[in-house]
Symmetry: C2
Subunit: 559 residues, 2 copies
């Protein structure tokens, strides 16, 4: 194991190659990239169009057990596996999400990956990057301004100002904006009404950008956004306000995927970052499909644990984009399994094989679940220095008993050299043709039944409850033509159930659907099970207080 | 005259050179630019630092008569003169402001310049460009979030929530956000209070970025922002919230000036864009000082007419940055002078030499005013196709009688070939050493007396009125150590007076100072004379409705 260095120290010591060299390795000419500095670039829309008809590489999903405060290292493993595949001679690319800027000023920001499995440039990726999120914020807020402006000038569309569902967004942790009354100050400022702001990653525009296949599809989806209802409860669409064209113009550059690199100079597409609760939590379809044309293996990840992330990746992203994943990697760690086995955070440093084995129930449930989608799985045991051989062996034994394989990976400490075994096995699995991907439920199933299917087959809940108003709303959307949409579950990521303290593999619980929301542009119906926060606040000692530029012009306090 | 083409058609037909070639002509290596695409770049902070000690080129200000709906073509002349100087063999660069994104979705956006005197890429410059304004928005709103967060967590600084002067900003025309009540929705969302949003260009952060000399100065100025007052009326600063470091980090890239090019492939710095009413309305000091190190002649412009723009350029920007302008060009047109001479817009097409001569009183007043700053002036008569020889001759005669020269320029129609005479004369004037620049008033004059000096000597008002509260506030700021600051006048740009309909050269009027505001970070005291709108609204048929991407992927409706 290399000498201990912080993620930021490792990232700063990276020997980055000019981004045009990274692009060249993928067969992209300098004229086909849009550089942002010397270490970031977008891939031009024209070049992406020219790739039509090329065969696709193999798509590999990295997902994980339910997250715990111990951390599981999903992104680290995604990056490590990409590097590992390249190390064993495969042409592989990585696809992950972009980071939200706002939260970095609350808690310290994070690397994309960790240790010797990171994507760089780390600072830029935690700040403005290539401006995608700013473009999304702007497009979202233009639509909001057009709504109030329409009402101001006579409200020809007869918008019920009590039923405007489109809020505003900002990429900032600002609890003061959660609930506002706007248009105060007199006649010239419009009709006062209640509204509020969400954080940008919660914008439906973000989800749309990440699911759109090209600019024409983007514009169509933007037009389909339901922004408000009339008194007769008929929907008002963004296209009714003629907002879709201007929003697409604002998003034109943001639609082009971003190319950066790993510490080992392998290509990484970092593009889009929708919330993993009220949205589907995956990087953009455009980035994934582009990467699949340029590399033989594409390693990507989904948000949270497999119950939320992988399910949405399969049932929303793959279903809608026609993607056929070839293999799934489920990341687990000794510590996180111990926590799932009932050990408190402060006791994680002590060997406890029994707790590890008990916690494996959580892992086992996810393995079973992945099989339901017809995609072969392998388990990556992300190694920590405190893990004991007996603990690692216990996980491997458990996984073997389930008929799968568990592979210990040391990419955090050793980079690609620590993950070649997993890389070899993933490549074999992906090449085996074993995958027979199918979504969990058909498009034609009723919306409530879709929710029920996920709750019973993935979460293993015994029953699902919902007020009549929720059921009626789902029926109304079915009648309005939205019945074919998949459902997007918003619940705690810490448990299969809706109780975040219920670790392991609980069953028999009830799931209450508190609220449903229509994301007609993105193309899914959100089922909210529990409290979901769409605008975070800052802590009492925000990271912003210690973030600054040092004498050398480097950023301190961000990590 | 070339066949008529729209600005956008001309801009799209531009034969742009790669931006690294434009940089190379200025002696900047590829490694010292930060490319944004192939036609935009920032100049790295490190390179700028390396220029210290180099001699400065000559700074030439382009200003204008009071604007009228007929248009005077100030930016067009700035661009044309830059091209003209290059055409006659001088090494010249242009410095102008960036455009605000939001207003383009209300009224159609504009070119930077017009006809054959434009800066490109036009679309990018009207949209996200290099992200500077998004960075400013973010830094501004982080500070706002930190204020409410501080109050939420116990309000250790004892901020009086009724006296929070720091609002939020958005680069959008959104009248609904002018007046809001925030922090609604219960205990978790904080303490409800009234606030609102301004458009980003009105942010003090914008003014600060444009006046800061480097990142250290930027951070210091950010810390000096007064965000609120306590019950005892003592100020609370951004540095008290420890916001300055994080804001500087967010603005790190935005501080680097942007390099683009004219249609004739000459270098243009487009950087910063503060409001010309509540702020000083000039491009950034960093861009100007960098350009002066890299070119022998730097042509820049200031907002509105010379009464506001040039006065602030001299009394705020040049005073604070130690700039010594070498020459001033005052732009006038036959049509705009006719309007100043009392002709209605619909009658501008008819020859009217008497009206032109009458309107020259406005031009004459500006010539006199420029002389008060010790900078030699020349008049650029920006030619329109409908101008008659007699009208042009009348202007030249008027200017000659004042002891200066008026030169007819045809850069709009003919590019640099149409403006060589002006270029030659400006070069001679700038090289003559005639300039003896001095600000209008000394730092030590009282704040009220500074306002009075501008009103009496520049506007030619007879008296200045202000409530006792305004005078008391100015006295209080003097006692708090802000007495050395220059004043920043916010009044209508259409007249020397505060009555926008009073064209020509009125005198004897009264100017009422309605309100004063302290921009302690930017370093000026704003005197508001009349209604100033800091958050525009959208019209009943916003341009957004027709903005879209066409089949070719080009933007339609933005221009």
């Amino acid at each position: 194991m290399a000498e201990f260095k912080s993620d930021i120290a490792i990232a700063r010591a990276a020997k980055k190659k000019p981004i045009r060299e990274i692009a060249a390795r993928l067969g992209i000419d300098e004229a086909d990239i849009v550089p942002y500095g010397h270490d970031k670039a977008k891939i031009s829309a024209g070049f992406i169009k020219s790739l039509e008809g090329r065969p696709d590489g193999k798509l590999i999903l990295v997902t994980a057990i339910n997250p715990t405060p111990a951390g599981e290292g999903k992104t680290t493993t995604t990056v490590g596996l990409g590097d590992g595949l390249n190390r064993i001679g495969k042409r592989a690319a990585i696809c992950i999400r972009e980071a939200s800027l706002g939260p970095n000023f609350g808690m310290k920001g994070g690397a994309a990956g960790g240790g010797y499995a990171q994507i760089v440039p780390m600072e830029d990726m935690n700040l403005h990057f290539t401006g995608d999120f700013h473009a999304i914020t702007t497009a979202h807020n233009l639509l909001a301004a057009l709504i109030d402006n329409h009402v101001y000038w006579g409200n020809e569309l007869d918008i019920d100002t009590r039923r405007v569902t489109w809020r505003r967004v900002m990429d900032m942790n600002d609890r003061a904006l959660r609930g506002i009354v706007a248009s105060l100050g007199g006649v010239a400022n419009g009709y006062p009404r209640e509204s509020g702001f969400d954080i940008t990653v919660a914008s439906e525009v973000m989800a749309i950008l990440c699911l759109a296949t090209d600019l024409a599809d983007l514009e169509k989806r933007l037009g389909a956004i339901v922004v408000a209802y009339r008194r007769d409860k008929t929907p008002v669409f963004a296209r009714d306000l003629k907002a879709d064209g201007a929003m697409a113009v604002l998003l034109k550059d943001a639609m082009q995927p971003n190319l950066v690199q790993t510490l080992e100079n392998n290509p990484a597409f970092v593009h889009g970052g929708p919330f993993a609760n009220i949205a589907h939590g995956c990087n953009s379809v455009v980035a994934t499909t582009t990467a699949l044309k340029l590399a033989d293996y594409v390693v990507t990840e989904a948000g949270f644990g497999a119950d939320l992330g992988a399910e949405k990746f399969f049932d929303i992203k793959c279903r809608k984009a026609g993607l056929k994943p070839a293999a799934t990697v489920i990341v687990a760690t000794v510590k996180a399994l111990k926590m799932n086995g009932g050990v408190a955070k402060e006791d994680l440093g002590t060997e406890n094989v029994a707790a590890v084995t008990a916690g494996c129930a959580n892992l086992g449930r996810h393995i079973e679940n992945i099989r339901q989608f017809g995609v072969p799985a392998i388990v990556a045991i992300n190694h920590f220095g405190t893990d004991t051989e007996a603990e690692l062996a216990a996980i491997k034994a458990y996984v073997a008993e389930m008929g799968e394989e568990g592979v210990v990976c040391r990419h955090w400490a050793d980079g690609s050299a620590g993950i070649t075994e997993l890389a070899e096995k993933v490549a074999v699995l992906a090449d085996s043709g074993a995958a027979q991907f199918a979504p969990l439920y058909p498009d034609g199933l009723g919306l409530f039944e879709k929710i029920e299917t996920v709750v019973k087959r993935i979460y293993r809940g015994a029953e699902i409850t919902a007020d009549k108003s929720v059921r009626d709303q789902l029926t109304a959307w079915e009648e309005a033509g939205y019945g074919e949409l998949p459902v997007c579950m918003a619940k705690t990521q810490y448990s299969f159930s809706t109780d975040p303290t219920l670790r392991g593999a609980p069953d028999g619980f009830a799931v209450h659907v508190r609220e449903v929301r229509l994301s007609a542009g993105a193309g899914f119906v959100v089922a909210i099970c529990g409290e979901i926060m769409t605008m975070p606040g800052l802590p009492s000692k925000p990271a912003a207080e210690t973030i600054r530029l040092n004498e050398a012009g480097e950023i301190e306090g961000l990590f």
